[in-house]
């Protein structure tokens, strides 16, 4: 079976998902124009990231609940547990990410782990959508590619204020989305078997992201800016992300 572009359909799925992953790197671009963030700027970036993640989580939850509320809930609980355990494990290590070490690296790594895990579900979504037809697959690919740009922005917003270079931020942004091409093809090939597991994955990603926002990103933002400003930013970006998901 070949795609409209003459490629075997499995390759078309892989390339489509690779495009969505590369789009995540575009999220680092705005930071090419911002050299250094003040503490208030860093707090605003954290609040923006929190809002984008919260909006993305609400979208994932809605999709998961549409398939199965109970499986989504179990997935979310597993996601929270996963982050708790990851946190404990990282508590005994001092990882290095680029120029980051110690506490900063732990936080950034935890964030990256969450975003990477969350990409698995998106890769499945790309693969499953191609199972419903090529035009549907391309539409979902386009939506996810655009959706990934703010995710790259969120990753960069967390890493850049901690001194990580722009290219490294772009690299980790793309890296966090690499599960998408890796998961898309098996999901496409095993679409019927994967579909019942989809709400678990969606819930897992949503639970992990919300917990990450609560345990790391928001407390850090509160340290450097007024809570009312943070609330306005978080609320605004959450709604913008929801609008984005609704109409793209």
């Amino acid at each position: 079976m070949t795609s409209a572009f003459g490629l075997p359909i499995a390759w078309a799925v892989f390339l489509a998902a690779l495009v969505t992953a590369l789009a995540t790197g575009l999220g680092a671009v705005p930071f090419a124009f911002i050299r250094r963030l003040s503490p208030r700027g860093a707090a605003a970036a954290n609040a923006t990231a929190a809002g984008l993640m919260l909006g993305a989580s609400l979208g994932l939850l809605a999709e998961g609940v549409h398939h199965s509320p109970s499986r989504t809930f179990v997935g979310a609980a597993l996601g929270i547990g996963f982050i708790l355990i990851t946190q404990r494990l990282l508590g005994h290590h001092e990882p290095e990410i680029g120029q980051l070490t110690g506490v900063s690296a732990r936080r950034a790594l935890l964030f990256l782990v969450v975003m990477t895990v969350h990409s698995f579900a998106e890769g499945v979504a790309v693969g499953v959508s191609f199972g419903g037809g090529e035009s549907l697959g391309l539409a979902i690919t386009l939506a996810l590619a655009i959706h990934n740009i703010p995710e790259g922005l969120a990753i960069t917003a967390v890493m850049r204020p901690r001194g990580v270079s722009l290219w490294t931020c772009a690299f980790w942004s793309v890296f966090s989305s690499l599960p998408q091409p890796l998961m898309a093809v098996p999901a496409f090939l095993l679409v019927d078997r994967v579909r019942p597991a989809l709400p678990f994955g969606l819930g897992f990603a949503a639970g992990a992201m919300v917990y990450m926002v609560l345990i790391e990103i928001l407390p850090e933002a509160y340290d450097a800016a007024e809570s009312r400003t943070i609330a306005l930013l978080v609320g605004g970006t959450t709604v913008v992300m929801l609008l984005f998901q609704q109409y793209l």
Binding site: R40, A43, L58, L61, A62, V65, P69, S70, F73, A76, A77, I80, L84, G207, V210, Y211, L214, I215, L218, P219, Y222, D223, A224, A225, E226, S227, R228, I230, A231, L232, V234, G235, G236, T238, V239, L242, L243, Q246
Partner: protein, 244 residues
């Protein structure tokens, strides 16, 4: 839910503000109890916000999301009071502590305005369904304890007697039932307004959670425990669909 039932339930919830004001001594146990209650309220509000959002988007997505932005802006304006709402945590928030203190009337007015915004959310939830509204009223009853405690402690510190401070805390929160019933009447008279109001409620709830409840509870009980409580409460409400 009928407007009469809504009025009865929300009036009962305002009594919690009086209880909070009587806890104004802020002993160790009271401080932690208020911290946990605040975290639970934040989680419940997040779950209810999610259910409201889903309900609004099912009716009309664009008005719901635009309403959310309007609700966010409205609650921010209502929160522009000289009092820092008593929920500051650290960092830049401490700047507000050094601002000139508001008068007693200013404090009470700020609390009343704050309650009015919450009343909009309750009224919109009642327009969606009685169980969802009941959930939200119960949540705000829990939230009223900490709000009453903040206002009560403030007034007591300025020489008010305990009972008078408790009475004033309940009076300030009484805008909650009045606005809730008014909004329900509005929704019943003009059903196309429902998605706008539901969206506005989501925006307002999200603002309250991030601006007030989370920093307040982090300060009282630590971030890990609070994150777990918030996720658990929100997850349970979302799983139950807010009782819808």
């Amino acid at each position: 839910m009928t407007p009469a039932t809504l009025l009865l339930y929300t009036l009962a919830a305002t009594l919690a503000a009086g209880l909070g004001a009587l806890l104004g001594g802020w002993g160790w146990f009271a401080r932690h109890a208020v911290g946990w209650a605040t975290a639970a309220a934040a989680g419940l509000m997040l779950g209810i916000g999610y259910v409201l959002l889903a309900a609004g988007q099912a009716i009309a997505p664009a008005p719901t999301l635009l309403g959310a932005l309007l609700g966010l802006g409205a609650v921010r304006l209502a929160d522009a009071s000289p009092r820092g709402r008593g929920t500051a945590t650290a960092g830049a928030d401490t700047a507000r502590v050094s601002s000139p203190p508001a008068t007693d009337a200013g404090e009470i007015l700020a609390s009343a305005l704050h309650s009015a915004v919450e009343g909009v959310a309750i009224g919109a939830a009642a327009g969606v369904g009685a169980p969802l509204a009941s959930f939200l009223i119960l949540t705000f009853a829990v939230h009223n304890i900490s709000e009453g405690a903040v206002l009560g402690a403030l007034l007591s510190g300025r020489g008010w007697r305990g009972r008078a401070a408790a009475g004033m805390a309940m009076l300030a929160r009484s805008t909650q039932p009045l606005v809730a019933v008014s909004v329900l009447f509005l929704v019943l008279a003009l059903p196309p307004l429902l998605p706008w109001l539901v969206g506005a409620s989501f925006g307002a709830l999200l603002y309250l959670i991030v601006a007030e409840l989370l920093p307040h509870s982090y300060r009282l009980a630590g971030r890990t425990a609070i994150a777990v409580v918030v996720c658990l409460a929100a997850g349970v409400v979302a799983l139950m669909g807010g009782g819808r």
